[in-house]
Symmetry: C2
Subunit: 136 residues, 2 copies
């Protein structure tokens, strides 16, 4: 009788502690990427260091990922299945809507190809600012 989150954690050799399960539940329930300040608010009973270390553990484990938006607040969202402790492999784009201010992970319609002469590309992170479909 294991929850899905506990399984996720143990798969990465992380103990399924109540704190981690609670944090995951908060991140997953949020309908878009959750800003750090919201995490603090929802988890105000967490010690500051515990939140810090728990987030780091989940980031390292490829369970959640950061979406930094133009050097402002940091947002967190659940990873897709293809992330692991080996690394993050997101194929989506982080969109920050200027109307509702929400940050979401969206799939681009086209395949994004970036070709830079004489450069070997390992990973690409794309941040888009604009207006989301809800607000249009």
């Amino acid at each position: 009788m294991d929850t899905e989150f506990a399984e996720l954690l143990r798969d990465r050799n992380l103990k399924a502690t109540p704190k981690r399960l609670e944090l995951l539940s908060v991140v997953a329930k949020y309908n878009s990427a959750i800003p750090y300040s919201e995490l603090q608010k929802s988890l105000h009973h967490f010690d500051r260091v515990t939140l810090y270390r728990t987030l780091n553990a989940l980031l390292d484990g490829g369970i959640v990922h950061k979406a930094s938006v133009s050097n402002e607040e940091v947002y967190y969202a659940m990873c897709k299945h293809y992330c692991s402790s080996e690394g993050h492999h997101h194929k989506h784009v982080h969109l920050k809507c200027k109307e509702c201010l929400e940050v979401s992970c969206v799939e681009a319609k086209n395949t994004i190809v970036i070709d830079i002469p004489n450069v070997e590309i390992d990973n690409v992170e794309i941040e888009v600012q604009g207006t989301c479909s809800k607000c249009l």
Copy 2:
């Protein structure tokens, strides 16, 4: 008898003070995007707050821009001519080389088109991690 930098500043209604000119000179001389720690080192005689406010003034004025690299250190680089106090409009990509660790602004060979259904896109920021031409 105005330097190019002084002109840049006055165009944005910013006073051409020695501090600002010195900071611009440091940023411009650096062969790639300069990390914040390097700025501090080169400008250790600046008050911490002065560096902070000077950078903000130049960022707001569209004279320099930030290149944040996966939530690590922040890098700064000179803007191109088409940036102004109205906003930044970069068409380049920020590349962090995993070998030399340098961050540079490079032009992509192809036009980067990102199409997301029902989303109106204003601005796109792209961060690439890989190996630069020098290190290949």
